[in-house]
Symmetry: C2
Subunit: 402 residues, 2 copies
Amino acid sequence: MNIDSVDLFYASMPEVTLEADGSQDALLVRVTAGGHVGWGECEASPLTSIAAFVTPRSHGVCQPVSASVLGERIDGPDDIARIAHAVERNSMDLLQAAHTWSGIEIALWDLLGRIREEPVWRLLGYEESHAKIPYASMLFGDSPQETLEHARTARAEGFRAVKFGWGPYGTGSVAADADHVAAAREGLGDDTELLVDAGQIWGDDLERASLRLESLEGARATWLEEPFSAHAFGAHAALAARARTVGIAGGEGAHSPHMAKNLIDFGGVRFVQVDAARIGGIGPSKAVADHAARRGVTFVNHTFTSHLALSASLQPFAGLADHRICEYPVHPKQLALDMTAQHIRPDASGEISAPDAPGLGIDVDLDALAPYLRDVEIRVDDEPLFASPMPRRRTPRVNAVA
Amino acid sequence: MNIDSVDLFYASMPEVTLEADGSQDALLVRVTAGGHVGWGECEASPLTSIAAFVTPRSHGVCQPVSASVLGERIDGPDDIARIAHAVERNSMDLLQAAHTWSGIEIALWDLLGRIREEPVWRLLGYEESHAKIPYASMLFGDSPQETLEHARTARAEGFRAVKFGWGPYGTGSVAADADHVAAAREGLGDDTELLVDAGQIWGDDLERASLRLESLEGARATWLEEPFSAHAFGAHAALAARARTVGIAGGEGAHSPHMAKNLIDFGGVRFVQVDAARIGGIGPSKAVADHAARRGVTFVNHTFTSHLALSASLQPFAGLADHRICEYPVHPKQLALDMTAQHIRPDASGEISAPDAPGLGIDVDLDALAPYLRDVEIRVDDEPLFASPMPRRRTPRVNAVA
């Protein structure tokens, strides 16, 4: 069978703030082939990713993503890899292509899994979907006292691992950062894993990052995530060499499997965090997971959006029993919860698993999604290149507030 | 003064083919501040890059490029670096941002240079603009005989260095590739430098690439360019270790200065080729040039479009006397020639230089550009996000043919 259509749905909360919260909007992808349907999601700027799908070509290796996808044969996983290769080549000079393609790739795995009535992790060659320990991801408080309270709450909710990040961390003094980290440890008690996310705050400034190692190791932090820009491998490696007990983590910015592997091979990370919805989908994520396992590095998903994206990002390491920790969007925006009919919930022991169900095991709820949809229209030389597949006139916002 | 406006002009040839020829379209950037004007160019998918400028924000670090640019103070080079840092942070998760920002950054240098009546290379700290040896860039012929003829023509035109690339190279047998390379050398004679561009054809397949080394070294090729994917640093380094006389070249795909520096530090390239219109502009290109010089690596511009882009990509290494070779678009499409009032031509000794004139020393000819302009309109929820700054109803193409 062949790919008959690719529909892109841009949804967002009525208000999108400057929080570092990726669940405020979404770009969903629906692929149809031979009467079957699969769904995926891009963790990416929706409008820009839509443009990368429909843009007029610039030359032979700067073609729109659509050129390598529409009409292509899709009978099995090898076809996904073949199309991925075509996108990589034909859209070589179209930077956004990897983000657009990620959601399509995920939808193709979902589609194949539904046809074969197999979960995607089985199509990837895994025999089993091993349970993971979800960590709660939250922002540092504005004050250490607030961080302490957040930590206590997360512990009370039963999380065995908690990540604090962004907010004031890294922007002020070394002592202020140390206070936050100590407060987090105090609130979590002795038995909860503490993870810290610096959100690339130090650019490639090794010295500023190094000054934080003492407080992180004093608080027995498991990892320090994204101390530097995603491409600053040398700085990552130098910091990893200076650290004694805390591991360096990173990888969410990877938009090709090479980039994540480089962070392992040249950046010295102990944890590689891959977002399937950015790196090119599930296939490239699995390649990174294999590489990580060979190198003794722990693979972790990056997910801050919906449970469709969560399922997609769990598949690549579902079968790796020793890679235990996983990111779990604990308090996403309502959009991210409403858009799917099923949700991946912690079991009695507080662990989560990639669903044992066909495809990704998550159905998109189009009715629930409808109020969040945004109408996009792109025209070049008066010809329509894109119009949203389910245009919906919503109540004007000013009335919604009144 | 402050940045008052950023206008994006999408221009293209009437027909855009599948050739690997980046001069078939263009995204020009006009920036105004305090009544002054500067021009830049993105070497990027125009529609996608426009979308990255105007897209609604997704969250705090996935903001449109416009959010970090419009209204910002611009009094000197430090302001360009400050805005670049803001774009990097605020658009961290917007992959296309680097390509959009590149053209704006170039326009800001042009604007400052025109105000100060200094060429950009002087603002970068160089005392002199040293002449470069332009190499002619051409496609391999369909047959070795055709390659031979192309080589003879280039030599007759007086070029002291010629690059062959793409076409059949790397797609067939090792022997066929060897025939093409030998034909190129034969046509060029003994004294002309031969450069070969594989256009990423081998992905990360070290063995397939290695099989070509013998014929390249037999023909005394100076470099083998882009044997692998832009991020495949390990494969680059392994091939560089196997090569004896031919240097590995690459870097045109770099969309951050770290990425180009990594290709030097981890990829073992002997030539780093930077496109200012992709890597984030002139400032990041200069940082790579400095790094290359420290590491004993030769900096080369990548330019396949207009003479505005050529001037921009010459500035970062204009003052490096020992970095002699430069890419020169010999037969670009008419659009790339028509869009500027001045052109950078070889002097009596066949060499070219970054202009000794204010800014980039190249004026955009808006009247000549007009017939090539394309009208873009982007609407979200019925609100216009973008409309081309100089809409022009061209004669319908069917009539133009009649």
